[in-house]
Symmetry: C2
Subunit: 332 residues, 2 copies
């Protein structure tokens, strides 16, 4: 099944081509998975092998504004700078827009502002695609539900399906081949005392893209065959931990889930290793602090940086041990 | 089933108590597993979940000499220094000897000389227990087969079952509850050009013993459930690689196997991580060198140090990139 078939399923052959207003505008937060998305059951539609669960960073994300224009091509400005038409970012965005304009009859002036620290391993494509589909929905007056927007955002980037909401969000793996049961939903729980701290240990390009890395885990890691069982278990525990506000359970499960994801990478061939010496040093520091009684956990995505999980009460101690940390409040 | 039952099975209730000669003497090499032993199906008898395959370091190991004496207790000298009677080493050795003297009627003066670099993560207990049972066999004139000695050595330390031979050795997991089909055997293949380089990145006590670490993998890592399938596959490939002398296949399989073992550790809870920043730095160095065309692989045991695998032809280049390496010739 192709992406364009999914578009037909959502719009029932009634793709609006006239804008409902002059400008479409939307913000979408980035998200950090406590239970990771790792491995696809369909790489065309970005259908995942398993469900996943994330927390949005409410103030970090992408604000996208759209206007139709007659240039004959899309013009994209990122953080005030116009991007070259042949850049990977523009090509990927244009290709995505083509899903909604099979005959390429309209073009957009796209202005994206992201306040996500670059190279901190914060999924910028998640916030980017989620804000893009929301802004399209706004511009054309599609009046789609968030669930439908989640499905559309997924076609751009898997984890973008989770960036339509703030708070805790669960993305369902679904079982259908068309992915119409594969969307995210906001969980009811809120947790005002919960915090995330971002510690950058290294900058620079990833050696392997997460798209390629997850495919390699699926294709070559024998241990990966047990990953879906690990996720099924962690999702149950995380939902329960959120419900009863058990921070040790939440933090431990998130950390274990991330380490299991990286375990499926180092067990691939050729091995994929996002650990840098600094990453390992910081892990040992977290474990030492935890042994000394401080409730602190980490999670790690497809990059070398760690995201610390802790409670607001321990804010000062965390800052003392990690002076370079950027702390993020997750709830008002 | 208890260890003492295994002793009965081997000696048929005819445990000799009279020495056949004045002094028992034996050397046993240490060994490095290319396919790791990780996880037990019986922790009393050290029966492993899977088979494993190792290469002996022919000149590195333990030389043990034994004499009966009448002190009423065992006296152990390690590298010329008498060990305190309450040290862990003496207690573990005495406990092992008690298997052969249920009534504690005789005692030994034990002199062990090990030329294994301390804190390099080279299994000293493997060489130690293998040389101890061989020296006992010599002293008491048991005339046991190597296979029987392998079974006895296993009761002291699992990987000691592989230290009765030089060259490539495979340890069979067996299926019997008494472990009488769980012993090692020497493989026919020799590989004169093959070399191992030991690079010490860090010294000091392990944070978690390998005994405890493997048990934690078995008990808490979901990914561990796929480890036996990985090993089954790697054993077939390694045997084939030895047979056809395909070094890339041997090195790649050994490296992948080690990384899979460590993957089952970091996916445990609490996580077990023998990686230090220096370990990861050296891994990236190996991967960079390999990408640049140098055929070099690594393996890692339950410690922070890497053991490099390479061919004699590349000796000079390896020495250039790792000046601190200790190179070990595996065959004459």
């Amino acid at each position: 099944m192709k992406k364009s078939d999914v578009i037909q399923l959502i719009f029932h052959n009634k793709l609006p081509v006239e804008p409902a207003r002059e400008k479409g505008l939307a913000f979408a937060p980035t998200n950090i998975a406590l239970c990771k998305y790792w491995g696809k059951r369909d790489s065309e539609l970005n259908l995942p092998m398993t469900g996943s669960l994330s927390i949005a960073l409410p103030d970090k994300g992408a604000l996208t504004s759209l206007m139709l224009h007659d240039n004959g091509c899309d013009v994209i400005t990122l953080n005030g700078k116009e991007l070259p038409g042949d850049s990977a970012f523009v090509l990927r965005t244009t290709q995505f827009l083509d899903l909604f304009r099979p005959e390429r009859k309209w073009f957009l002036k796209i202005d994206i502002n992201m306040n996500i620290p670059v190279a901190a391993g914060l999924a910028s494509s998640a916030a980017g695609f989620a804000s893009l589909v929301s802004a399209l929905n706004d511009l054309f007056g599609w009046k789609l539900s968030r669930r439908e927007l989640s499905i559309l955002a997924r076609l751009g980037s898997g984890s973008a399906s989770r960036s339509l909401w703030t708070g805790f969000v669960e993305w369902h793996a679904g079982v259908q081949a068309d992915g119409m049961d594969c969307y995210a939903e906001q969980l009811k729980d809120e947790w005002p005392g919960l915090m995330i701290g971002i510690v950058s240990v290294a900058e620079g390009e990833k050696p392997v893209s997460s798209r390629e890395a997850m495919q390699r885990s699926v294709d070559t890691s024998t241990l990966y065959t047990a990953w879906p069982r690990k996720v099924a278990r962690d999702l149950v525990i995380l939902r329960q931990a959120l419900h009863v506000k058990n921070f040790s359970l939440l933090g431990g499960t998130a950390e274990s889930n991330a380490l299991n994801m990286h375990a499926t990478m180092i067990s691939s061939w050729p091995p994929v290793c996002y650990f840098l010496p600094e990453t390992i040093a910081m892990m040992h520091k977290v474990w030492d602090l935890r042994r000394s009684g401080l409730e602190i956990y980490f999670t790690q995505d497809a990059g070398p940086n760690l995201k610390l999980l802790f409670l607001e009460n321990d804010k000062d101690k965390i800052f003392e041990h990690f002076p370079q940390v950027e702390m993020i409040q997750l709830f008002e």
